[in-house]
């Protein structure tokens, strides 16, 4: 065992059992999977993706490139988790991954949540800097959100042994946490990683809420939550990532980041080896040597590339009798199947742990995403934040400020300034606590240990990319770090190159003879850590994936076995099958009922727009292709509208319901687009028009009663309403009581039969429908759905916008010149004069009668003229609608065909996989060409 007898923030009284690659182990509450594995002496955790080399735990945090695991058992498995961030729970089952995860084949039944949040100051990162910033801003009275990615706040100083005001830093931490909890407008989010920083200070935070509870997680609790935070001010206190050193055989298990080793010793009470060597270019790793020495390890040497490391830290180490090999490098390592056994630093040194530090890279990922710019700091030897276009401040290690005292001071100042900027406090923070500091010997940047081949000098551990690969990229002519990234795949792993990126830039620079400052970094893009798709979906799945709009009559349809069709967001009855009936049989029956008896349909889904004002008539005349000057109050008219390109956009019926007042219907799916279109013209082109538009789509429920006996049903429902053909002519509107409900009745027909559409306030819709069904019962009234409606209208050749048209079809193409005024101006008119819209070979809407009466052509089938052609075969059109007709006793279709109106009675062929299907081109009308039936 490598667990220390005491110390750390783990609870030794709460042992937790877990398995790793099927072997049982035990850890403690407070462990991560990584710390528990190290405590159990597990040194090898994966094999590398390309070369199959053994790899061990490398870091203690988000930057981990090696220890990727699949965590499973119970409610499905989660792939590609970093063992360094997986909190241990009893019964955890983990498997190593060789850099490739597996999605569980089982559906994820966990709940995922989203929450919008707003604050004056968002602080990202709960280390010493972030805590100080949140405290300063919170005490000033600002609404503060502090997001921290770990299970408890404290950041890296949980892994250190600093003193604040002469006491352990963790005491100060506890006090700050208590202070923050007492501020009602401060919200501290744990296990919450800020993953994306967008415009207007919008920051996405992914919070892990139940995974650490394992099987004890409450079923009702969302597993993860995506916070969409809008902050007036952001303070990024995201810390820094330690850089590894690049030398031959630098990837063995047992070679770890020095700061991570400190964390394992101090936070988790784990010593990941017995004999440790330090390899560094800066003072920070000396603290690691002292911690390991105190923990009882042999520490034979600190290998320091600096020629004369002197001052506080090196002196303290030398005092302990640890040798400092100044001006030396580790140039090679040796080991076996348990990892590291020795290093070469001008001499062979036996060791099973090598703690490396090449300096620190501020975690500027979010800052870059906020569109901030970096500059290279020669003294600190790292890229630090420079200009920031958004309201963001960077503080602490993320800003290149590394000492604890300076971090706390900078955090307090940043928090106070951010709060003050939005009106809270005077911007002056409270005094900082006392922290002991040691004068530092400056870092000497050191990027690459000279090595001839570079074939085992790993730059990106997750992607298994070496210095040799970078050399190859540069040798192939690549100079941009972005090109090298794509050529070598450095930085494209799930860790996004957190330990590899800056080193690779510096190595490219070294190979090109340029400073790293000139090479720059690759672009950091969201997300900062991998985020599951399920989290982005949130509760937007299944029934809540998209709103399903329903009419007030919907419960009746459900109760009567309707099969539904999605029309835009609407659920519309498609057909109402009787027991044992196929769809075809049901639709034919419903069609027959309309043609021969009486049938009813819920048409409440049609869009409806109230149009009023003294310029309403002028407005309609410009929006629609046809004119409304002669439309008297109490009458309605079919209308068609085009976009400015002259192509058909939508259609409907315009009712003249009162002086200067109209009600226009739109297609079910087009309601919102038509209202937007009308408002756009009204507001931007014709602001002088005295016209007001109001959407009333949901105000009205509408029932269409169609068929030769529909008049009898209406009479039964509304005895006081004269319904005879003279009193109530086609395209007339009557207002009155229907089934005791105030109603507006229109004589409109979309089926070609005698028909009435009854409109009532939506809260009466269900009552009206029930009354219609009751009144129609003696006449055998039949509910019908959208499919029968489609067949019936197609028999009449009525095009459906969006099915028989596709945005490239003019009214003239549809054979609807009759609805296009030649006397007035309207949107699209000029386009109808273009040479192209007058071409004789445009696609025309025509009818098709398959030569074999039972042959049902599939909608979308392409059409050709000659049965025997050499490829390429010229396509002349396609089928847009195709049905079986009860009235015709055969199949028929509508189609768009090039020059179709000049091809009447000629044959076209649909080449389908089985054979050619011949059909005869006809007029697009198959039923009651004279329109006698419609007039009852």
């Amino acid at each position: 065992m490598t667990r220390l007898a005491s110390g750390g923030r783990i609870d030794r009284s709460r042992p937790l059992r877990f398995t790793f690659d099927a072997l049982p182990h035990t850890g403690f509450a407070g462990d991560t999977l990584a710390s528990a594995l190290l405590a159990n002496g597990v040194r090898v955790v994966s094999q590398s993706v390309t070369y199959g080399r053994l790899r061990g735990i490398f870091s203690a945090g988000v930057e981990e490139p090696n220890a990727l695991v699949q965590v499973g058992g119970g409610t499905g498995s989660e792939p590609m988790l970093r063992a360094t961030q997986v909190e241990l729970y009893d019964g955890l089952v983990a498997e190593s991954l060789n850099a490739r995860g597996r999605l569980s084949p089982e559906p994820d039944v966990a709940r995922y949540d989203k929450l919008f949040a707003h604050c004056d100051v968002l602080v990202v990162g709960g280390g010493s800097t972030g805590l100080a910033a949140a405290l300063a801003a919170g005490k000033a009275g600002a609404r503060v959100i502090l997001a921290d990615e770990q299970a408890e706040v404290g950041g890296t100083f949980l892994g250190g042994r600093d003193l604040i005001d002469g006491r352990p830093a963790t005491d100060w931490l506890a006090e700050v946490a208590t202070d923050l909890a007492a501020l009602p407008e401060v919200r501290v989010l744990s296990r919450a990683t800020a993953v994306g920083y967008y415009d207007q200070n919008c920051v996405l935070i992914a919070q892990r809420r139940t995974a650490h509870l394992g099987p004890a997680a409450p079923a009702a609790m969302a597993r993860q939550r995506l916070w969409q935070v809008r902050a007036k001010q952001v303070v990024l206190a995201t810390g820094a990532h330690e850089r590894p050193m690049v030398f031959a055989e630098n990837d063995r298990p047992g070679i770890m980041l020095a700061g991570a080793v400190r964390t394992y010793v101090n936070r988790y009470g784990v010593v990941p080896g017995h004999r440790a060597v330090i390899f560094t270019n800066n003072d920070s790793a000396y603290a690691c040597a002292i911690d390991l020495d105190d923990a009882g390890l042999d520490v034979p040497a600190v290998v320091d590339v600096r020629p004369n490391p002197a001052g506080g830290w090196p002196d303290r180490v030398r005092e302990r009798g640890i040798e400092v090999l100044a001006g030396q490098v580790v140039s090679d390592t040796a080991g076996g199947n348990r990892g590291l056994e020795s290093v070469w630093a001008g001499q062979r040194i036996d060791c099973d742990l090598l703690c490396v530090s090449g300096g620190f890279n501020p975690a500027v990922h979010l800052f870059i995403q906020s569109q901030g710019r970096l500059r290279y700091d020669e003294i600190l030897a790292c890229f630090v934040p420079d200009e920031a276009p958004q309201a963001v401040a960077v503080a602490g290690a993320a800003n290149g400020t590394f000492g604890l005292r300076d971090c706390i001071q900078e955090g307090l100042a940043a928090g106070a300034a951010a709060a003050s900027a939005v009106g809270f406090g005077d911007g002056h923070p409270a005094g900082a606590p006392q922290v002991e500091t040691v004068a530092e010997h400056p870092i000497v940047p050191f990027w690459l240990v000279p090595d001839e081949s570079g074939a085992t000098q790993f730059v990106d551990l997750e992607r298994d990319v070496t210095v040799a690969d970078v050399r190859r990229a540069v040798g192939a002519g690549m100079q941009s770090v972005e090109h090298v990234k794509r050529y070598t795949t450095i930085g494209t792993g799930s860790d996004q190159g957190k330990t590899a990126g800056i080193n690779s830039a510096a190595i490219v620079g070294a190979l090109l003879g340029q400073p790293v400052a000139a090479i720059g970094t690759t672009t950091f893009r969201p997300p900062y850590v991998p985020v599951s798709f399920a989290l982005f979906a949130g509760r937007t799945r299944g029934q809540l994936f998209d709103p399903a709009r329903v009419t007030p009559i919907h419960p009746w349809h459900v109760a009567h076995g309707a099969v539904f069709e999605n029309v835009g967001q609407w659920k519309r009855p498609w057909y109402f099958p009787h027991d044992g009936e196929t769809m075809e049989q049901a639709v034919l029956r419903e069609c027959r009922a309309v043609r021969e008896g009486v049938a009813a349909m819920d048409v409440s889904t049609l869009g409806k727009i109230d149009i009023q004002g003294t310029d309403a008539l002028r407005f309609l005349n410009r929006i629609y292709t046809n004119a409304y000057d002669t439309l008297a109050v109490g009458h309605c008219r079919y209308g068609l509208m085009c976009k400015a390109d002259g192509m058909v956009f939508d259609d409907g019926v315009v009712m003249h319901v009162g002086p200067d007042r109209y009600l226009a219907t739109t297609t079910s799916g087009g309601a919102a687009a038509v209202l937007d279109w009308m408002e756009e013209w009204l507001q931007t082109e014709w602001p002088d028009f005295r016209v007001r538009l109001t959407s009333v789509s949901d105000q009205w429920a509408t029932v269409a009663v169609a068929g030769p006996r529909s008049r009898e049903v209406l009479r039964a429902l509304a005895p006081a309403m004269a319904a005879d053909a003279v009193s109530f002519p086609f395209m007339a509107i009557r207002e009155g009581m229907v089934a005791g409900i105030p109603a507006r009745v229109c004589r409109i027909s979309f089926s070609g039969e005698l028909a009435f559409e009854i409109n009532v306030a939506s809260w009466y819709g269900l009552r009206l429908w029930e009354a219609v069904m009751a009144a129609g019962e003696p006449f055998g009234i039949t509910p019908y759905g959208t499919e029968a409606m489609h067949v019936l209208r197609a028999e009449k050749g009525y095009a459906i916008i969006g099915q028989d048209t596709d945005g490239t079809v003019t009214p003239q193409d549809l054979g609807m010149s009759w609805v296009v005024s030649k006397k007035k101006d309207f949107i699209g008119r000029r386009s109808h004069r273009r040479a192209d819209t007058a071409r004789p070979d445009r696609m025309h809407l025509v009818g098709l009668l398959p030569v074999e009466p039972e042959d049902l052509l599939p909608e979308g089938a392409q059409l050709i003229l000659e049965p025997r052609q050499e490829p390429p075969v010229a396509i002349v059109g396609h089928v847009t609608s195709s049905y079986r007709s009860a009235a015709l006793g055969r199949t028929f279709a509508l189609a768009l065909v090039k020059g179709g109106r000049d091809r009447m009675a000629s044959q076209v062929y649909a080449p389908l996989p089985d054979r050619l299907h011949p059909a005869t081109v006809t007029e697009p009308i198959f039923y009651d060409k004279e329109g006698l039936v419609r007039d009852g």
């Binding site: 919008f116 029934q543 709009r549 349809h557 949901d698 009552r767």
Partner: protein, 216 residues
């Protein structure tokens, strides 16, 4: 006269169960049939504003996203020249007359939209949190309070949110066709506030799904 049918009738028992399962932190109910009129008028026309004030007891609000209330009726600001006038059940004819009188011959419009939207009332100490799961508007008391309103999205449904008291109680005006969806969404969003187990079984939308693409 025929009886009106509330669009969320079928949700009544699930709604009423929320109060107890949330330990009193949330109450949820439909307030159907309120009179609602979309009113467009020029707010700079003193005669129109005075006329409305005399008849209904409030001055049409001109500050964006604010509401004026008097005598159980409210005017919700929807735009620089547009309000939703809300009254009790059956008051639509009365309110229509009042607003037409106020308009006189000036340019504007009065449209009865009473049956266009229903109202879902969400109240209680956790109401604000529940709405935050799907509402991008900041409902914090420092930013939004009693007498404030906003047109926004709640999940994927367009709503007008009106805070009517400090409980807080929110009225969500939603188009009737979206009401089922929003009710399901609200119940789902309340899961963590209500019980150990997800609440209730959802009302089925019914029937089998067709494979056909968008039509009509």
């Amino acid at each position: 006269m025929a009886r009106k049918h509330a669009i969320l009738d079928g949700f009544a028992s699930r709604f009423s169960g929320v109060a107890s399962s949330s330990g009193g932190r949330i109450a949820l109910r439909e307030v159907p049939f309120s009179a609602q009129l979309d009113f467009r008028a020029n707010p700079a026309d003193g005669r129109v504003v005075d006329s409305v004030h005399k008849a209904l007891g409030f001055v049409l609000p001109t500050d964006p996203n604010t509401a004026a209330t008097a005598g159980g009726r409210s005017a919700l600001w929807l735009g620089p020249d547009e309000w939703l006038i809300v009254g009790g059940e059956g008051e639509e004819s009365l309110l229509t007359r009042v607003l037409h009188t106020a308009l006189g011959e000036t340019f504007g419009s009065v449209v009865d939209v009473s049956a266009n939207r229903t109202v879902i009332e969400v109240s209680g100490s956790a109401a604000r949190d529940v709405l935050a799961h799907g509402c991008p508007v900041d409902l914090h008391p420092r930013d939004f309070g009693t007498g404030r309103c906003a047109q926004t999205l709640l999940a994927k449904a367009q709503v007008i949110i009106h805070q009517v008291n400090d409980a807080p109680t929110f009225h969500l005006f939603v188009r009737t066709s979206f009401a089922w969806y929003l009710a399901e969404w609200l119940l789902d969003a309340m899961t963590e506030y209500c019980a150990e187990e997800p609440i209730g079984v959802s009302v089925p939308l019914g029937g089998q799904e067709s494979p056909s693409p968008l039509r009509g």
